[in-house]
C-alpha cells in the first residue's frame, strides 16, 4: 500500500470532519519507498522486491510447464504453451515472420516479465507497478537496444548497418546530408528513449489515477453530501481499475512488439 494511503486512512481524515482536513492529493512522494533493508549504500525497496518476484514467477511458471513436456499437454503445460503461442502469433510472426522464431525465448520472457511488473499495480498488498520506477524500463530498454544494435552489426556488418540506417531508400543524393542525421538520431537515441518513457509514463499515470480516486472515495466518505461524491468517485475508481487491467497488458504488448520491430529492422535493411 502506498505511504500516502496508509497515512490518510490512519488519520481518519474525512470531508468536513475537521477544519484543517484537506484532500490529501497524491504526490511524487508516493513513488518513493522506505528501504526494507540496506546493504552498505544499496537500499532494497519494494519495487526491487516486486521485480525479483516477477522474475521468479515467470521462471517458476515456465519451468513447471516445460519440466516434463508431453506431446499432449496437460495442466500447466497448456498455460505455458498458450502464452508462448500468443506471443509468437500476435507479436513475433507479424513482425519477423517464421525466420524470427529464434528470438521467441527473448520476446516471451520480455513480455511476461513486463506484464507481471505492470500487474502488481492491481494486486492487493503490492499495489504498485514496478515499471513506474524509471530505472526498470531503462534497464529493459538497454537490453533491447544492445540486442538490436548487435543483431544489426552482425547481419549487415558494422559499417553496412550504419550506412543502411543513414541512407533512406529513394531519397535524392543532395538531401541526404540533411536527412541522415535525423535517421541516425531517431534510430540510436530517440527509439530507446521513447520505448522506456512510454512504459514508465503509462504505468505512473495509471497508478496516480488509481490513487486519486481511491483516496477521494475514502476522504469523501462521511455523513454529508460528500457521500454522494464518494460513491461516484468509487465507481470511477472501478472503471479506471478495469481500464488499467487492459493497459498493463497493452503496454507489455507494445514494448514487445516494438522490440520485434526493431529486431526486424536490424535483420534486413530498409523496408
Amino acid at each position: 500500500m502506498s505511504n500516502l494511503l496508509v497515512l490518510t486512512t490512519a488519520s481518519g481524515c474525512h470531508f468536513q470532519s475537521h477544519p484543517s482536513c484537506g484532500y490529501p492529493a497524491p504526490t511524487i512522494e508516493d513513488f518513493f519507498f522506505k528501504p526494507i533493508f540496506s546493504i552498505g549504500g544499496f537500499q532494497f525497496t519494494k519495487p526491487i522486491l516486486l521485480m525479483l518476484l516477477s522474475a521468479a514467477i515467470v521462471l517458476a511458471v515456465f519451468w513447471m510447464a516445460f519440466r516434463k513436456p508431453k506431446l499432449v499437454p496437460r495442466g500447466i503445460q497448456n498455460v505455458g504453451e498458450l502464452g508462448i503461442l500468443a506471443v509468437r502469433d500476435q507479436i513475433l510472426r507479424p513482425q519477423l515472420g517464421s525466420k524470427g522464431d529464434r528470438y521467441l525465448p527473448f520476446l516471451v520472457s520480455l513480455f511476461f516479465f513486463i506484464w507481471l511488473m505492470n500487474l502488481w499495480e492491481l494486486i492487493p498488498v503490492a499495489q504498485f507497478p514496478a515499471t513506474s520506477k524509471f530505472a526498470f524500463p531503462v534497464g529493459l530498454t538497454l537490453v533491447v537496444w544492445v540486442t538490436y544494435m548487435f543483431i544489426g552489426m552482425k547481419n549487415q556488418g558494422p559499417i553496412g548497418y550504419f550506412k543502411n540506417m543513414a541512407v533512406p531508400p529513394g531519397a535524392p543524393w543532395w538531401i541526404l546530408p540533411l536527412l541522415s542525421p535525423i535517421e541516425l538520431l531517431s534510430n540510436i537515441i530517440v527509439r530507446p528513449f521513447t520505448l522506456s518513457i512510454r512504459l514508465m509514463a503509462n504505468m505512473l499515470s495509471g497508478h496516480l489515477l488509481l490513487l486519486v480516486f481511491s483516496i477521494a472515495s475514502w476522504y469523501l466518505f462521511s455523513a454529508t453530501i460528500g457521500l454522494l461524491f464518494a460513491a461516484v468517485s468509487f465507481i470511477v475508481f472501478l472503471l479506471v481499475f478495469v481500464l488499467e487491467v487492459l493497459i498493463t497488458l497493452l503496454q507489455a504488448f507494445i514494448f514487445t512488439t516494438l522490440t520485434a520491430f526493431y529486431i526486424s529492422d536490424a535483420l534486413e535493411p530498409a523496408h
Binding site: I175, I182, F261
Partner: protein, 62 residues
C-alpha cells in the same frame, strides 16, 4: 499493409527531426542572438522528418 511498428517509427522520426534541427537552431540563435531561430529550426526539422518519412514508407517494399 504497414507493419504495427510503423506508426511508432514515424513518431520517433518526427521527434528526432524536431530535436536535431531545433537544437541546431537554438545553438545558432544563441550565437547570433536571434531567438526566433529555435522555432525556425523546429519547423525545418518537422519538414525534413516528413520528407524522410515519405522516402522511407511510401515506396513499395521490396
Amino acid at each position: 499493409m504497414p507493419r504495427e511498428g510503423t506508426g511508432w517509427a514515424i513518431v520517433s522520426y518526427l521527434i528526432g527531426g524536431m530535436l536535431l534541427y531545433g537544437g541546431i537552431g537554438w545553438l545558432v540563435g544563441r550565437w547570433t542572438h536571434i531567438e526566433a531561430l529555435t522555432g525556425v529550426g523546429i519547423v525545418l526539422g518537422i519538414g525534413l522528418s516528413l520528407a524522410l518519412i515519405i522516402f522511407r514508407f511510401t515506396r513499395p517494399s521490396r
